[in-house]
């Protein structure tokens, strides 16, 4: 709760709304205690007094009633009616929504059809019909406004409830022997309440407008009592001659509703967990670059070389060092595996190459990425864009999420080409079919017109590969391309990738967490831990004789088929969080050979042998024995 208020206070607009609302509500509450003129006493002699006139600060209306007094009493009434309507609608609507969403099936079906029926009316028709039946009056207007808003709440809350009712913790509560009523009250409701609060805070303003509207039409509060809407309605006939009688109540409605809306947005933002983490911001076309230190020089003639690459996530005042100085290089035709657990920074490294790390919150803070000797990190966006997909292409993990759901795969393949060179319609189509054939999709002429959802996971990933091949790039960066696939499909996709790279002489940077996959596909491998490369070298050498204790432990953890039933080696503890990296080796706390020296200063990635490097003071295997091999 205090956290919620702190978040709310940080939002300046919401704070402004809160202050204005506080003042308005305060005066509304103390109105009866103030020395105001009676709002309903008419005095036609003093009609239409202007603003700031003697004895009537805001002037008088067409019956000579004091506008200030009427305004304050009217505000009081409008607020009360608006809040009451919101609470009634939210309570009933939420109850209906929760019941429909939780029980599902026929209950849900019948309730929601009823709700749909009510929503089939333009809402005011229903309100007008209710007022017509009950007769004009403020209480009836309140009932009408609350009633027409119930379906909106019911529908909204039902959607949320369905999501929660399908969560595993609800199943767990059932298995713990809880009854339906108890699950609804103690498991579902606490998770739905924030949504109800959000829905209410964003609709109270609307309800106040609606009740004011009905009063404006003469269907709400009846003379002589007036809320803000009927004040405006009564002033309308004198709009041209005495505009102040209209402007006073109108501005008041505007101020109240605006303050409530600002406050409501603040409440929504404070309660939405996604906004807290900054996850709702739009990623920019290219990752933000803010390099502080000197830019490392290119060395050697590698096709793609990462030098001291640093990528961080800046979330509020925290800095997550996802990639903390990574050196990698890929030569033409070579497959380099980058292996690590989740959170090790392997995907961020891969995405940093072409500036695809979502930004905000991602920032490249140091290092360089050289492609054929040219630094891509400092390159302007237009240059980066021209290289994306043409020279360096990507294959991503989840093939359903990474293809556009509303375009055919043919369109998406053609686009991959057409954004780099003009291509005719028939030529583009032929090219797309050819690409699909290359990735061995059967019946390519027909499949080219399919949408992604019509294909199986394995087929979609083949389309992803075809798209990466569209412009014959030199480098393909594959970010866990088979993790989401079943093993039998994975085997096929890996074989395909392996064949293609040999045919086309592609360089591949292959990101994975699976040693088996690395062993089968990659020439060299780099192991990542807590944002840094801890070991790198030829695949066979590392898999046969891992030098870094982390690599060796990690390999021992992974059960491998054919080894039978056994107790697994486990690494104690957890990887460090990258916003609080320890001094020295990040693995030291989990390492069985760590010494005090491991916890001090920078440990370099030192050469172990001709082709191998390791970031460790106490490497596991002896370089001498390895040289002898």
């Amino acid at each position: 709760m205090s956290n919620f208020l702190r978040l709310l206070a940080r939002n300046k607009l919401a704070l402004g709304g809160l202050i204005v609302m506080g003042i308005v509500i305060f005066f509304a509450l103390i109105t009866p205690l103030l020395p105001l003129a009676d709002p309903n006493v008419t005095n036609t002699a003093d009609r239409f007094q202007p603003v700031f006139s003697e004895g009537a600060l805001l002037g008088t209306d067409h019956l000579g009633r004091d506008l200030l007094s009427r305004l304050m009493w009217g505000t009081r009434l409008s607020l009360a009616v608006g809040f009451a309507a919101a609470i009634i609608a939210a309570t009933i609507g939420a109850a209906i929504g929760i019941i429909a969403g939780y029980y599902g099936g026929r209950t849900d079906n019948i309730i929601m059809r009823g709700v749909d029926m009510l929503m089939a009316f333009p809402y005011i028709l229903l309100a007008l019909a209710i007022v017509a039946a009950l007769g004009p009056g403020l209480l009836n207007a309140l009932i009408a406004v609350a009633a027409v808003n119930i379906p909106f709440f019911a529908r909204n809350i039902r959607g949320i409830t369905v999501g929660i009712a399908n969560k595993e913790f609800v199943d767990a509560a059932r298995l713990a022997g809880k009854s339906d009523a108890s699950i609804i009250l103690s498991e579902v409701l606490p998770n739905v309440i924030p949504v109800i609060v959000i829905a209410m805070s964003t609709t109270i303003g609307w309800m106040i407008l609606e009740t004011a509207g009905l009063s404006f039409l003469g269907l709400g509060s009846q003379p002589p009592v007036a809320d803000l809407g009927s004040m405006l309605g009564e002033a309308r006939s004198a709009l041209i001659t005495n505009p102040h009688t209209s402007i006073v109540p109108g501005m008041m409605i505007l101020i109240i509703v605006m303050a409530i809306n600002l406050l409501g947005d603040g409440v929504r933002d404070a309660l939405d967990p996604r906004l807290k983490s900054g996850a709702l911001s739009r990623p920019m076309p290219a990752t933000r670059v803010d390099r502080k230190g000197p830019i490392p020089e290119a060395e050697g003639d590698d096709l793609l070389a990462l030098r001291g690459l640093e990528t961080q996530f800046h979330v509020k005042d925290r800095v997550y060092k996802a990639v903390g100085g990574v050196d990698l290089n890929v030569r033409p035709g070579e497959c380099l595996g980058l292996i690590g657990e989740s959170g090790s920074g392997k995907s961020v490294t891969a995405l940093s190459v072409m500036g695809l790390v979502a930004s905000p919150p991602g920032v490249i803070t140091g290092g360089a990425v050289y492609f054929e000797g040219e630094d891509l990190v400092g390159a302007p966006y237009s240059k980066l864009r021209r290289m994306r997909g043409k020279r360096v292409a990507y294959i991503f993990q989840d093939p359903l999420a990474t293809l556009h759901p509303l375009y055919t795969i043919g369109d998406q393949l053609i686009e991959a080409v057409s954004c780099h060179r003009p291509i005719g319609k028939s030529e583009g189509r032929a090219h797309a079919v050819e690409l699909l054939r290359q990735v061995r999709i059967p019946n390519a002429e027909k499949r080219v017109d399919s949408y992604p959802h019509e294909l199986s996971g394995g087929m979609r990933q083949r389309v992803g590969i075809a798209m990466a091949l569209a412009n014959d790039p030199e480098v393909i960066i594959a970010d866990e391309p088979t993790t989401a696939l079943d093993v039998t499909v994975q085997a096929q996709v890996l074989t395909l990738l392996d064949d293609l790279r040999r045919e086309k002489g592609l360089a591949i940077l292959f990101i994975t967490h699976d040693f088996g996959v690395v062993a089968q596909l990659c020439d060299r491998v780099a192991v990542m831990y807590a944002g840094r490369i801890v070991e790198q070298g030829p695949t066979d050498a590392i898999l046969n004789a891992p030098a870094h204790p982390y690599t060796s432990k990690l390999m021992a953890c992974v059960p491998e088929l054919g080894e039978g039933r056994r107790r697994l080696e486990a690494i104690p503890g957890l990887p460090p969080v990258v916003d609080k990296l320890p001094d020295g080796c990040a693995f030291a706390d989990r390492c069985h050979v760590a010494t005090d020296a491991c916890r001090r200063g920078e440990i370099p990635l030192d050469p172990l042998s001709d082709k191998r490097r390791v970031r460790c003071i106490h490497p596991v295997s002896d370089p001498a024995t390895e040289a002898a091999q």
């Binding site: 333009p122 039946a133 039409l217 409605i253 739009r282 990623p283 997909g389």
Partner: protein
Amino acid sequence: MAGYILKRLLSAIPVLIGISVIVFLIMAMIPGDPATAILGSYATPENVAALNEDLGLDEPLVTRYFIWLSNMVQGDFGRSFALNRPVLDEVLERFGATLVLAGTAFVLCSVFGIAAGVISAANQYGFGDKAITFVVLLGISIPSFFLGMMMILIFAVNLRWFPVSGMWPIFGDRTIWVLLDHLAMPAIALAVVATGVVARLSRSAMLEVLRQDFIRTARAKGVRENSVIWRHALRAAMVSIIPVLGIQAGFVLSGAVYIEMVFQWPGVGRMLVDAILRRDILLVQGGVVFIAACYVLFNIAVDVAQSLLDPRIKT
């Protein structure tokens, strides 16, 4: 596609029946003798008797409903006693005017709302985003009737750019230009609130879509940023914007009631309010059912548009 449209039309029948039941039940809530309530307390005994005869008001509720329904299906919505003419004639005449007003406002709010939302999202936290967000906030906070009154005061009374009210001048030609001159202010006043709502939802839909993996894929392919925003992101965002447009049409239609009052627009909304104040219940009943039915049909069109956009919807 034709099959899908037919299916949707057939599925509208139970909804229409439901609507008629709801309206009928609400009207049945009117306390006291129905005939007197419908005709008002000044009705002559002859009129009351005629109405009882006409609608079989002494019959049980269910029978009355079916009589009313079968009359409506045959195009007989009853007679307005205040106006002394058939309800349907009056509704049809007024509905044309409302359609012009609400239709214009709907087009305005769709086009400007979506454009503002997209621009706002594409420049999140930039100057354009902040400016649009503020204007949108103002738009959704101002009562449309107050906005309309202020527009009359400023643009009609002081600046004399537009006529104060009405759809047509009392004298003179009824040309399209004259109509536009009269339409401009009410249509804009009506569109402002809906534009705000559409802009907000478009902005959040766009922000949601822009974080999706397929946007990253498009960028990784080297697609130009303009195309990423308007081709990839907007198309995907339209899937959630279109249903909102369907709901907004209802809000525009609702807002038209206020705007018609402020601008003396001879539409169906003003007719309903007058009818309620005169207790002309049959006119209210017929008008509500008719407009609701039109709105149902409109929403079927929205569904069809959605199915054209999204191949994942089974047609």
